[in-house]
């Protein structure tokens, strides 16, 4: 579904990603782990072109994301993204946060979008917050709304950029539960996280990034209980 070919990304002189190639299949839940500054978030943000790759190619459903003739807005509509800091729109209600994009991009009419938004809110247990403003919600609630906002566009893939890193510890669980049920339902997911428990439990595949490269990858069991490279071993020793 997503093919990454020799992706390089530099910020000025600093090379953050070096020749990263990767295939992500439909229905997979891929979790990216690695020390900070290893390029995980940059890799994820390159997938929907929030970061412009310096070189290399990204194909989504066979369409090149980087080609100038690609309608990037159309492509992004099929890729939901959830941010570390939620990035809800503080100037509108929760319902409007969720329905703005589907209605403005013309993929749904208002009634349709609102019905779908309410149904999704119901599913994450926040239907009663529809007319509230983001400032009235807790961190965990905000992040669940952010997930719903992305889901309302009916994306083919969901990208999660450290979705629990800005949350109070007791709110991490509620967000991870939503993500888990999403993965169970067969959503294609790419997740950058420090939650090793989530990676172990939910991921189909774990990628370990360090120094801008995928150092090691495999199924969670092998990554966590049978690491091969020294770098992964020392990383796991620190976080587990």
């Amino acid at each position: 579904m997503i093919v990454v070919n020799k992706l390089c990304k530099s910020f000025g002189k600093l090379e953050v990603l070096h020749n990263v190639s990767e295939h992500i299949e439909k229905g997979e839940c891929v979790v990216l782990i690695g020390p900070s500054g290893s390029g995980k978030s940059t890799f994820l943000r390159c997938l929907n072109l929030l970061e412009e790759p310096t070189s290399g190619e990204i194909l989504f459903d066979g369409v090149s994301m980087t080609s100038p003739s690609t309608d990037i807005n159309r492509m992004r509509q099929k890729m939901g993204m959830v941010f570390q800091h939620f990035n809800l729109f503080p100037n509108m209600t929760i319902l409007r946060n969720i329905t703005l994009a589907p209605t403005r991009t013309g993929i749904m009419v208002r009634e349709q979008a609102e019905a779908r938004a309410m149904e999704l809110l119901q599913r994450v247990g926040l239907a009663d917050k529809a007319s509230a403003y983001p400032a009235q919600l807790s961190g965990g609630q905000k992040q669940r709304v952010a997930i719903v906002r992305a889901l309302c566009m009916q994306p083919e893939v969901m990208l999660f950029d450290e979705p629990t890193s800005a949350l109070d510890p007791e709110m991490v669980g509620e967000v991870l539960d939503v993500m888990k049920s999403l993965a169970m339902a067969g959503m294609t997911m790419v997740v950058v996280t420090h939650e090793m428990g989530f990676a172990r439990e939910v991921a189909n595949r774990v990628l370990f990034l360090d120094g801008g490269e995928i150092v090691e990858q495999g199924d969670p069991h092998n990554i966590f209980y049978n690491p091969q490279s020294e770098r992964l071993k020392s990383f796991l020793a620190k976080v587990l």
Binding site: N48, L49, L50, E52, P68, N73, R74, M75, R76, Q77, K78, M79, G80, M81, F83, H85, N87, L88, F89, P90, N91, M92, L100, A101, R104, T105, Y133, A135, Q136, R149, A150, M153
Partner: protein, 253 residues
């Protein structure tokens, strides 16, 4: 009237006491020949010019700031040549307007570019609006840049285009942030309308000028218009305060 004539004779003969002198001067400044009408008309013109300049300034400021912000936020490799031309043009505009005195701009507008126009107030409003636009554009640009970058990213990641993201997400948040600075600019603008008297725009200051040049008495006309300006600005500030409180109230929802 009779009292004025009698006391005026005393003033001329140099026998008037302080109170009588004051009375005569006040009468000459505001009452004689219905001069208060000139002040009133002046206030009308001042407010009209302020309103026109304000409208033009905000419009220009909005266009310039959005073009300049859009230019800065282009994706590398997807640069729009039209945007580059407009951006360059607007940069020159802001530099020239901010780099030259308001008075000089007014003189050039009134005496060079529109030398043949008799509608001095309109020319003045045009010059003021163009001037204000340069400052307003920087205020708005600052507001747009102050909105968290994550808001733009969230909007774009949902597949919305740049214009929609700006319109529904960035601009509404920027407005709240820039309102105090914008209010400041409006007050400056209101007071700067006094400058158009130099190109014969018949606003409030012009009234004080013409009246004092006939009576050779400066105290009352100028203190008078100073008080009127102060009153107008206080009124303006009050209205702005209400507006700001209303916007802030929406934060606590």
């Amino acid at each position: 009237m009779e009292q004025y004539q009698a006391w005026k004779a005393l003033v001329v003969s140099g026998k008037a006491d302080l109170w009588q002198q004051f009375y005569v001067k006040f009468y000459q400044a505001f009452v004689e020949g219905d001069r208060w009408r000139q002040y009133l008309q002046g206030v009308g013109t001042t407010l009209l010019v302020t309103a026109m300049a304000l409208l033009l300034g905000v419009l220009l400021g909005l266009i310039v700031s959005i073009v300049r912000t859009a230019y800065d936020q282009q994706r590398p490799g997807h640069r729009n040549p039209l945007l580059a031309v407009l951006n360059g043009f607007f940069k020159v505009y802001v530099t020239v307007i901010r780099g030259t005195p308001m008075m000089v701009q007014l003189m050039i507008m009134g005496l060079v570019i529109f030398a043949s126009s008799r509608n001095f107030a309109l020319v003045g409003a045009l010059a003021l609006g163009i001037n204000s636009g340069a400052y307003t554009s920087e205020i708005i640009r600052g507001g747009l840049m102050s909105v968290d970058i994550g808001q733009m990213e969230a909007g774009r990641s949902l597949g919305m285009n740049y214009a929609d993201t700006m319109r529904f997400i960035i601009v509404p948040q920027a407005v709240k942030a820039i309102l105090p600075a914008l209010g400041n600019e409006f007050i400056v603008l209101l007071k700067d309308t006094s400058l158009i008297s130099v190109i014969a725009g018949k606003e409030l200051m012009y009234a004080a000028k013409t009246i004092s040049s006939r009576t050779y008495e400066y105290l009352f006309p100028y203190i008078g218009v100073a008080l009127i300006y102060l009153l107008l600005v206080m009124l303006f500030t009050w209205v702005l305060g209400i507006f700001e409180r209303r916007l802030r109230a929406s934060d606590r929802r």
